[in-house]
């Protein structure tokens, strides 16, 4: 109730503002309060040909070369310019908009356009694009977080146009369609929905567009925010859309029939609908021979399972099920816990907490200090806590291994999820032992199978079972087997390429 009332009042305020400021003069009155707003006449005659712009948003060089040079250089015949519409003939800039709409003027002014008026208080103005897109953005576009040894190292940048350029370089067809929407009441961020016409299902594009258009928010910093707004289920630790900073990964998603969303100012592209197995796929898998790639992919999956269940199994076994410890291991496990005063749960939570602490601190700290901290944390704290009998050294190995294993997933968001999932399982294991772990697994499986990404089941090649889509899931089959797009994406054309057209290589000895 309370929230509803607030909302209504807000709407009233908004209306009042828009009614008051319909003309350009009031816009100027408002923006003049900022120190970086500039307004001056282009000619000697005051009150004539007035240019207004944000100093910080425009490219100074363009302003000087394309505008000031023309008007200040003698002699400039003013007769050539009778109406504001004639400005297009004089200034050699492609994007000039003539308008008398105050709102359009305001939004363009904030995007780095300059406003040119014939006379002061003229309602009809020319908006000239002088914006400096690249100012303040980084130039280096090396992949940082999704690094791979083999393959291209090109990542996306904060500049959305460069990002689209990168996509167009790979998907060299007119079928790559980019739809633009502006989101954010304050930031007015450009968000682009990209898909390939004739491949991607309309349904996915429409769902994505619909959901993005429905967003009401003030400032969009990153696609990961959009991700949270448009997710099918916000009560899940699992990422339902796949964020990537790699160009090849985004391209792969697009050609498979997924939709990509780019946002201005964000080096991450989100693609969807995604399935859980997508988070275990590294682009490197496609650059290595399929046998190796499949093996490494399986290792990734097993390491994630170990990471989730390692410590909780330790707790269950040590606390409740000593019978299942092999005879040879019993002595060393028992010895390692002999001096530890805590129950296994506290011991595990203490160590897990330490590892999380190290990771959080390592992320915040500058790179050089971070490395030192990693070594200090890993070796010194670990060893010292064993020596001080706070934890057993067997547990130290398990916790360290499972921390390491959680980072084998190529997508950082998934590794966060995996680190989080351990804790409820630890709780279950400490209360009910092995039974607790089974209950935890049951909850996890029920939750996973109920998840959807843009309306597509999250666990799709396995549940619902789609045997023909298993070719590129747990194992990466050879390219002759992955010629079809996955069915669950409902692509409009199923064939990516036709492997059977290639003639079989003949051996020299056949002739």
């Amino acid at each position: 109730m309370f929230f509803k009332k607030r909302k209504i009042r807000n709407n009233k305020d908004k209306q009042a503002v828009t009614e008051n400021s319909q003309d350009i003069g009031q816009l100027f009155a408002k923006v003049k309060k900022s120190s970086d707003f500039k307004q001056f006449p282009l000619t000697d005659e005051s009150g004539h040909l007035i240019i207004s712009y944000y100093n910080t948003l425009v490219d100074q060089q363009q302003l000087q070369l394309k505008i000031l040079m023309i008007f200040r250089e003698t002699p400039f015949e003013l007769d050539r310019l009778e109406k504001i519409d004639d400005i297009k003939k004089i200034i050699a800039i492609e994007d000039i908009v003539i308008t008398d709409n105050r709102n359009e003027a305001e939004s363009k002014l904030l995007k780095g356009y300059a406003i040119l008026q014939m006379k002061e208080n003229d309602q009809r103005v020319a908006l000239i694009l002088l914006s400096n897109d690249k100012a303040g953005l980084r130039e280096q576009n090396n992949v940082e977080n999704e690094f791979s040894v083999v393959g291209p190292q090109i990542g996306f940048l904060e500049n959305i146009d460069v990002n689209i350029h990168l996509l167009r370089q790979q998907i060299n067809t007119t079928d790559l369609i980019t739809k633009e929407v502006n989101i954010g009441s304050t930031s007015n961020t450009r968000v682009i929905i990209a898909h390939i016409d004739g491949i991607t299902s309309e349904q996915h594009v429409n769902t994505m567009t619909q959901r993005l258009q429905d967003i009401d928010f003030d400032v969009i910093f990153d696609t990961s925010q959009l991700h949270q707004f448009i997710e099918d289920n916000s009560l899940t630790p699992f990422p339902l859309l796949l964020p990537t900073e790699r160009v090849d990964r985004a391209v792969q998603a697009l050609i498979n029939g997924q939709v990509a969303v780019l946002s201005s100012g964000s080096p991450y592209v989100i693609t969807g609908p995604s399935t859980i197995i997508d988070y275990f796929i590294s682009p490197e898998d496609y650059f290595l021979p399929w046998i190796l790639a499949s093996f490494f992919r399986l290792i990734r999956v097993f390491s994630v399972l170990f990471s989730i269940f390692g410590t909780s199994i330790y707790i269950a076994v040590i606390t409740y099920h000593y019978e299942m410890i092999p005879n040879d291991l019993f002595g060393s496990l028992s010895t390692s816990r002999y001096n530890v005063p805590f129950p296994p749960v506290l011991e595990v939570i203490f160590l897990e907490f330490t590892i999380e602490l190290l990771r959080e601190a390592g992320v915040r700290l500058p790179t050089k200090v971070g490395q030192t901290l990693g070594i200090v944390g890993g070796i010194v704290i670990g060893q010292a806590s064993v020596e001080a009998s706070l934890t057993s050294n067997v547990l130290l190995i398990i916790v360290a291994l499972s921390a390491l294993a959680s980072f084998t997933t190529p997508i950082y968001k998934m590794s966060n999820t995996i680190r989080f999932l351990r804790f409820p399982l630890i709780l279950f294991a400490s209360i009910w032992g092995g039974l607790g772990i089974v209950i935890g697994i049951a909850f996890l499986l029920i939750h996973l199978t109920r998840l959807e990404s843009l309306g597509t089941p999250y666990t799709v090649p396995f549940y619902p079972f789609r045997p023909e889509d298993l070719t590129d899931s747990l194992i990466r089959s050879s390219y002759s087997k992955t010629s079809k797009r996955p069915n669950y994406l409902r692509p409009k054309s199923i064939w990516r390429y036709h492997p059977h057209n290639h003639k079989k290589k003949k051996s020299d000895f056949d002739e």
């Binding site: 019978e323 002595g331 010895t335 129950p343």
Partner: protein
């Protein structure tokens, strides 16, 4: 949804006390071996427990207690222990000969009912008292060494496959009697000296280690046993140590009115491990001759073992089981009555595959 969460969390937290009680690995006292003796009408219990105070340093210690019946041996020991005694890692139970003569049925069936005890636990019969043997094993600073000793001898020695599970199988089925390893003290060291024969959980008698290999071949068609035999050839005496590589036994039951007769076909592929030096193993002809001698020898030994068992009226080979598998109207009681008269015909086929490097 909310209700579901509420239910889950209340179950998790309020019912946590209803779960199994904690048995943290370093806060329980596991016992690895347990012995029962009968002493002046009372039962004496001996338990070996390991302590793991330092890395790689195991100390075995002993609890002893006396009670008038076996049931409260463990509670009495618990009264002596700093941590609760747990039988989850118990993997060797030893019975004194006197105790075993009166029957081990109670102990075994109670272990069988306890879900904590391992079904691959080993059992054994001690020559004198269980106490002697367990007491002397205390000096070995190696946990679980007694059951390892038996397992090792099953894997690579002369003992047939056995554990609690198989004991129970033999105990409950009609047509086969139980066997257990028979342990003695030799020079104050524990030695497995053959097999004890039991009937209905009561000790009857025991056989030596050589006979136990023959029993092993008759039961599981074993591998890896070693067998020493004395050979007389050309009025010379010598010894041969055979290594049993692979043996297979087939039983054929001749159904006849009254007493069944059983035909046993035993094939042993063996290797000559050691032999007295005068044996000439180079020529095939000599080996064939040797095989013939061994054939005779094994035929005699198998026959002797069977008649020995028949003499004690126990059936460790499971002849009854073979007959049961071949008869429509099985009557265990009737079979037990005629068991000493069951006729067996043995045919052996010794095949020497390998005599080592010769030149």
């Amino acid at each position: 949804m909310k209700l579901c969460f509420l239910l889950t969390f209340s179950l998790t937290f309020f019912l946590s006390g209803c779960g199994i009680h904690e048995r943290i690995i370093d806060e329980v006292q596991i016992i690895e071996a347990l012995g029962y003796d009968r002493e002046e009408g009372k039962v004496k219990g001996i338990a070996i427990y390991p302590t793991f105070a330092e890395q790689g340093n195991v100390k075995l210690k002993i609890y002893k207690t006396v009670s008038d019946s076996y049931e409260d041996i463990l509670p009495r020991m618990n009264a002596k222990s700093a941590y609760p005694i747990e039988t989850g890692k118990l993997d060797f139970v030893l019975f004194g000969k006197e105790y075993a003569t009166q029957g081990i049925e109670d102990v075994i069936t109670n272990f069988a009912r306890n879900p904590n005890t391992a079904s691959r636990m080993q059992l054994g019969i001690a020559e004198n008292t269980a106490e002697d043997i367990l007491q002397s094993s205390k000096h070995v600073n190696l946990s679980f060494h007694l059951s390892e000793k038996i397992n090792q001898n099953i894997e690579s020695g002369n003992l047939p496959k056995m554990n609690l599970h198989m004991f129970l199988n033999n105990f409950h089925q009609e047509g086969r009697d139980q066997i257990l390893p028979y342990l003695i003290l030799e020079e104050n060291q524990i030695k497995i000296d053959g097999l004890a024969l039991l009937k209905n959980g009561k000790y009857i008698n025991h056989i030596n280690l050589r006979q136990s290999l023959i029993l092993k071949t008759l039961i599981d068609g074993s591998q890896n046993g070693q067998y020493k035999t004395k050979i007389t050839q050309n009025k010379k005496e010598g010894f041969i140590l055979l290594k049993n590589l692979d043996a297979k036994t087939t039983y054929t039951v001749e159904k006849s009115e009254g007493i069944p007769s059983i035909f046993i076909d035993l094939t042993i592929h063996a290797e000559i491990e050691k032999a007295s030096s005068w044996f000439d193993l180079k020529k095939d002809k000599d080996i064939v001759k040797l095989e013939r001698i061994l054939n005779e020898h094994f035929k005699e030994e198998v026959q002797r073992l069977i008649s020995l068992a028949q003499g004690y009226n126990v059936d460790p080979i499971g002849l009854g089981e073979k007959v049961r598998a071949n008869s429509r109207n099985w009557d265990y009681q009737r079979f037990m009555d005629i068991y000493p008269e069951v006729k067996t015909t043995v045919h052996t086929n010794i095949d020497i595959l390998n005599t080592g490097i010769e030149e």
